[in-house]
């Protein structure tokens, strides 16, 4: 995940290049390092560097990395001819390369010829059964073809071997949520929290899933995780604040009649409501009326 300073740096570089001041190469390097997905800009500036033979020779050996980056960006923008040219240049230089083979597979994918792409990837995997990127491309292909259960199966098999890959866990969690398989999604989010306990995003998503699952215990746990999100983001996350209010009211509804007072955090609910009101007053004061009426209906 990209940190805030890196993102601001990337944006300022982007502005600089957009408005005609140089630095295209630094921008491309930063995009590559942060694995950000800015394919249009990369395509535009990458091509401008590659088509200018003077600038191209100034790059030296980095030229081929740029070819690869531009090829992938072109495929993302569906400029398949550009991509094919770049790949041809790379193939001339590195005839037996696995990386170029992978790019060829990606090109077939972009064209939509799934069968051939699958064949290409399988042959690459035979030579190198532990290539993470190719495994992930197969999952992406299955997902793109709409074969979600196949994607889940391949992703699970991938995770059996590479179980420390948190990006894969995240993808799996999102697929499960899209299929409403919330218990499995909760498991994946737990893995994510384990590997990166200080990222509030995962706490929030986990709390959402627990809240959706329902049930008194899950609601209590969800409330706790909303609270931890608030703690980790310094109270600025509106969704977590809403989550607290909703959880409290849901718990009150479920345990109606049982006089189970929440001894742990009696004030959290009202505090969250006040914080929400303050936030709305600052940022969207015209919606404040909606907010207060919604909160009042929750309080009952």
């Amino acid at each position: 995940m990209v940190s805030k300073t890196e993102e601001t740096q990337l944006n300022s570089l982007e502005n600089q290049v957009d408005n005609g001041g140089g630095g295209a190469w630094e921008y491309l390097c930063l995009v590559r390092k942060l694995k950000a997905r800015r394919s249009e800009k990369v395509l535009k500036y990458g091509l401008s560097i590659l088509n200018d033979p003077k600038k191209r020779s100034a790059l030296g050996p980095e030229e081929w990395t740029l070819y690869e980056q531009v090829a992938i960006a072109a495929m993302d923008c569906q400029c398949l001819d550009v991509a094919k040219d770049c790949i041809k240049a790379l193939q001339k230089k590195f005839p037996e390369s696995k990386r170029v083979g992978r790019l060829n597979g990606m090109l077939l994918e972009a064209k939509g010829s799934w069968g051939e792409a699958e064949k290409a990837y399988s042959s690459l995997l035979e030579d190198n059964p532990l290539d993470q990127v190719i495994h992930k491309r197969r999952v992406a292909m299955a997902k793109a073809q709409g074969n979600i259960s196949g994607a889940i199966e391949s992703l699970n098999k991938y995770l059996e071997i590479f179980m420390a890959d948190h990006e894969a866990w995240r993808e799996l969690a999102e697929i499960y949520v899209s299929l409403q398989m919330y218990k499995q999604a909760a498991f994946c989010y737990e893995e994510l929290i384990l590997s990166q306990p200080t990222v509030p995003l995962y706490h929030l998503a986990y709390a959402d899933v627990l809240y959706t699952l329902g049930g008194l215990e899950n609601l209590h746990t969800a409330k706790k995780y909303y609270a931890s999100t608030i703690d980790l983001t310094g109270g600025k996350n509106t969704r977590a604040l809403f989550g607290i209010c909703l959880c409290t009211s849901a718990i009150a509804q479920v345990s109606k009649g049982r006089n189970k007072e929440d001894k742990e955090s009696p004030e959290l609910h009202s505090l969250a409501a006040t914080a929400l009101e303050k936030d709305y007053k600052q940022r969207a004061s015209d919606k404040l009326g909606l907010l207060t009426s919604a909160l009042r209906s929750l309080k009952t």
Partner: protein, 246 residues
């Protein structure tokens, strides 16, 4: 003896500096040779999987307090279960992989290559130093030493009355051997084949790392007491919000 021996400056010009220069050059040569001889080692899937398991188990141990107790317990059972737990290595199997590694041709070849590339230049340089640069005092160590070091540092010098601080060129060779590592990492970047001392330590502490690691992880995991940190978070969230509202 308290008197100072005056050493010829020619020693500095013709012994110390050339020796250092030669060692640096040999190091650089070895680096390039190792790059040429680098055989792409196909990672063994079993080892990769075990490495990943260890990372995951370590994450579990480190952040155990962030997930609900039930999930933690189910994960712990998954890892350290007697029958098919991931971290459980039956005693009999633990010894085999080591023997397997030695008989595995690829790995044995790799190890041999690495060892050779390390041993041969060292031996040659040492012999060269002994042949050409022995029998005289090469340098003076700035701090006083005890008599025990005499046999180590004053090899070619057969006078027992010379102060131990005056050493022969062999000790200069050893000093360079261990000291140039920092210089090499500056010149050649982080990953260079001249990391002899590290390799020597690795060779002496040789064991099939993954299986020992697995056992260690399992023990660590068994020890962990789960103390759910989330209730604390509720109080902290309250405090945060209170501050925010003020």
């Amino acid at each position: 003896m308290a008197e100072d021996l005056v050493l010829d400056t020619a020693i500095r010009d013709w012994v110390l500096i050339p020796l250092s220069v030669v060692m640096v050059l040999i190091g650089i040569l070895r680096y390039f040779v190792s790059k040429l001889m680098l055989s792409s080692q196909l990672p063994d899937p079993k080892i990769v999987k075990e490495g990943q398991i260890i990372v995951r188990a370590r994450n579990l141990r480190a952040a155990a307090n962030f997930i609900p107790p039930k999930s933690f317990r189910s994960r712990r059972v998954y890892f350290s279960n007697e029958e098919n737990g991931l971290l459980f290595v039956p005693k009999g199997q633990a010894q085999n992989p080591q023997a397997q590694m030695f008989s595995d041709p690829n790995m044995a070849m790799d190890m041999m290559k690495k060892n050779l590339s390390m041993i041969i230049p060292q031996t040659l340089t040492f012999a060269w130093v002994n042949f050409f640069f022995s029998g005289f005092v090469a340098a003076k160590i700035p701090f006083p030493l005890t008599q025990r070091f005499r046999s180590m540092l004053q090899n070619g010098i057969d006078l027992s009355t010379v102060d131990v601080s005056y050493v022969s060129s062999r000790s200069w060779y050893f000093l360079n051997l261990f000291g140039l590592r920092g210089l090499f990492s500056l010149i050649l970047g982080e990953e260079n084949a001249t990391d002899d001392t590290q390799r020597m330590m690795q060779m002496s502490g040789f064991g099939f790392d993954p299986s020992k690691n697995l056992g260690a992880e399992k023990d660590g995991l068994d020890i962990v007491q789960h103390e759910w940190a989330l209730p604390k978070f509720e109080h902290r969230a309250e405090a945060v919000l209170k501050k925010l509202i003020k």
